[in-house]
């Protein structure tokens, strides 16, 4: 490090200020031993319970930060570079250390250059040595742009270099006396010097308004040098620095395929799962439970479990349900246009002799021809069997059948969705009943917990049932689908029966009977639920399901 040249990427070591240089030895000792590898599962994960379950870990933000330091230390040791350089390289290669190593060994200079660790653009700074003595740190900035584009060089660059004179910040034009230069101004390894106030203003803008983190460059026009983490921390106020680190961590989680933020509001946990990469999502539904107690899908970030349906089908279904195209389908199936004024008409009864309300045009609903041509054959269109008429009828029937099919599944899906929304009320009612039972039936608190358990079972089963209708909509008709629908029907019936039992009024003399009944039915629903889930999810692994869409 005594001179630049080969190891110019150490240059930022000469940035003045009291930044700590990372020492690999001391850091390595102080860090807890967390096993982390981007591509392989962590060693202490418990074995999955079912073949279709995924193992995962819920991580805290601190653990995510430790993961990053661990990766940094690995690269730091392997490539023999300071931690800050390793960090910038890793961020540039989106934490893919294999790719980074490959590219680095291939062409170190190009790898560093592309990561913004370039040597200074100006030839003048490259030829001379870069001694770390403070006297040279106050050397004025040299024009960098002028070498390629004289037109862009700002006017004030014409000032001759004065190694130890006063300094004028080229951004705000404040003057700094010779003795204040080190204290009040700052330059990166590229030696583009600005006052600290302007740096703070610039960095704050980048972080606060533009949400940038890992790719903030030097203020100089055309200079691609990345501003290092420690420097940003030193130059900006604490609040901005906190936001900056949040952004860095968000980028790290977003870049890592095995990490996902818990999508629930106010939850700061991160799920780590190595068993559900995107290519596996055509046979896995990686539902996981965060430490906040709520479920999510690791595959697509859906806010609750959407088992047993694949992420892709869920996406298709949600789009279909939200889409206006269904309105269009309905119009197509149920209406026709007046052949004169094109108003949309729904025929809701009556004979085929139509009179348009808008333009008073009279026509036949069957053949859409003018009524006058029908002569005396009222109420019985004699053109009915003409080929064009038959075709039109077929198209309309098909469209109507497809709409009916969709509505069949959608209504059932929406019904369960609606019931799930009434969860809170269901809980409250049941709690009231549990109190009532404790008062009138002389049951203890523990003895009435069966009701709460029953409600939970019903709610869980309803969510699965809801998604099972989405699944059925996309399944092709075959024997497997019939088996699926049998399981679905059994669960549906069991859930309805249990729901009914839970709604019953409590009579003091029948409490024991009711309790027995509900407990039995709860166990039955749980069993049916298990069967449906088990069979469907195993079906993906065994490739039993045949969908009408590509998965």
């Amino acid at each position: 490090m005594s001179s630049d040249g080969e190891d110019y990427y150490y240059e930022d070591d000469y940035d003045e200020g009291s930044m700590d240089q990372d020492s690999p030895v001391s850091e390595g000792m102080s860090e807890p031993d967390i096993v982390y590898d981007v591509m392989s599962p962590t060693a202490d994960e418990p074995a999955p319970k079912k073949p279709y379950d995924v193992s995962y870990k819920v991580r805290t933000l601190q653990e995510i930060i430790n993961m990053q330091s661990k990766e940094v230390r690995k690269i730091q040791t392997l490539l023999e570079m300071p931690a800050s350089t390793a960090t910038i390289l890793l961020r540039h290669y989106q934490w893919n250390s294999e790719k980074l190593q490959e590219q680095f060994w291939n062409d170190p200079a190009a790898a560093l250059l592309s990561a913004g660790l370039s040597p200074p653009v100006s030839p003048s700074t490259r030829t001379g040595p870069l001694p770390p003595s403070p006297s040279l740190l106050i050397s004025p900035r040299r024009p960098t742009r002028s070498s390629h584009n004289p037109a862009l060089s700002p006017v004030k660059r014409s000032r001759a270099p004065q190694p130890s004179g006063p300094f004028e910040c080229p951004v705000c034009c404040m003057e700094f006396a010779k003795e204040d230069v080190v204290k009040e101004t700052f330059a990166l390894g590229c030696r583009h010097r600005f006052c600290r106030g302007c740096w703070a203003e610039y960095l704050t803008g980048k972080i606060r308004s533009e949400g940038e983190s890992s790719r903030i460059q030097c203020m100089e026009s055309g200079c691609e040098r990345i501003v290092r983490e420690e420097i940003i921390d030193e130059l900006v106020p604490a609040g901005v620095s906190k936001r900056y680190h949040n952004l860095l961590n968000m980028a790290f989680v977003a870049d890592a395929p095995n990490l996902r933020w818990c999508p629930h509001p106010d939850c700061e946990y991160i799920i780590e799962c190595t068993q559900a990469p995107p290519r596996m999502l055509n046979q896995l539904v990686p539902t996981v439970e965060c430490n906040c107690g709520r479920q999510l899908c690791f595959g697509c970030g859906y806010l609750s479990s959407h088992r047993p349906v694949l992420c892709k089908i869920v996406r298709l279904w949600e789009r279909k349900c939200a889409d206006d195209s269904e309105t269009a389908n309905w119009l197509q199936a149920n209406t026709k246009e007046c052949s004169k004024c094109q108003s949309t008409i729904e025929k809701n009864g009556g004979c085929n002799h139509m009179t348009c309300k808008k333009c008073k045009y009279e026509f036949c609903w069957v053949c859409m021809g003018p009524w006058s041509e029908h002569g005396t054959s009222w109420y019985q269109c004699n053109r009915f069997d003409e080929k064009s008429g038959v075709n039109a009828r077929d198209a309309q029937a098909k469209s109507r059948a497809s709409l009916e099919r969709y509505l069949h599944y959608f209504n059932r899906w929406a019904n369960h969705e609606h019931s799930a929304k009434l969860d809170a009320e269901f809980y409250k009612n049941t709690e009231k009943k549990m109190e009532q039972m404790q008062n009138s039936g002389n049951l203890s608190w523990i003895e009435v917990q069966f009701a709460k358990q029953a409600v939970e079972t019903v709610i869980k089963a309803r969510i699965t049932l809801k998604w099972s209708y989405c699944m059925a909509f996309y399944l092709k008709r075959n024997n497997m689908t019939e088996l699926f629908e049998d399981n679905q029907r059994d669960l549906e019936r069991a859930v309805e029966n249990l729901g009914f039992a839970l709604e019953q009024n409590i009579e003091p003399d029948s409490i024991a009977q009711l309790r027995q009944d509900i407990t039995n039915q709860t166990a039955y629903v749980q069993k049916r639920h298990e069967i449906l889930m088990d069979d469907t999810l195993k079906g993906y692994l065994e490739r039993r399901w045949d969908f009408s869409v590509d998965i």
């Binding site: 006017v155 004030k156 705000c172 803008g205 026009s221």
Partner: protein, 130 residues
């Protein structure tokens, strides 16, 4: 820092213009205001398709100039028309990278004018963006 980050810097830029003048083809038209300057821009030489034409470039400076890029447009009114250029809209809006992610606080009003001038000079076809 001064009350307005931009004030001292603009004063300095103005002083530079008054002392050293502006490059050929760039004429300061109104630089009295502290938040809005107008320059006249012509492309010199015989090669250019804008020969003999003159455009008015308006720069509006925010309080955060030069950290934030000024708002730069060609004036489109009865007196001035924006140039016919693939990166200039008919209302005078300009699509250029230095007003976006390539903005640097060391760039000045004059260097913006020079960039606009060279953007016009390198154009060979009179086409509108929209």
């Amino acid at each position: 820092m001064a009350l307005r980050l931009s004030t001292k810097r603009l004063m300095k830029e103005l002083k530079d213009i008054q002392e050293k003048g502006t490059p050929a083809g760039i004429i300061p038209l109104s630089t009295e205001s502290v938040d809005e300057w107008v320059f006249l821009i012509c492309v010199l030489g015989d090669e250019t398709i804008y020969k003999g034409e003159q455009f008015a470039l308006r720069l509006i400076f925010s309080d955060r100039y030069p950290i934030d890029c000024p708002q730069v447009t060609f004036i489109a009114d009865d007196q001035y028309q924006p140039p016919l250029h693939p990166h200039v809209y008919s209302n005078g809006h300009i699509c250029a990278s230095i007003f976006g992610n390539e903005w640097s606080p060391v760039l000045t009003a004059v260097s913006i004018c020079i960039t606009m001038q060279s953007m016009l000079a390198s154009n060979k076809k009179k086409e509108r963006y929209v």
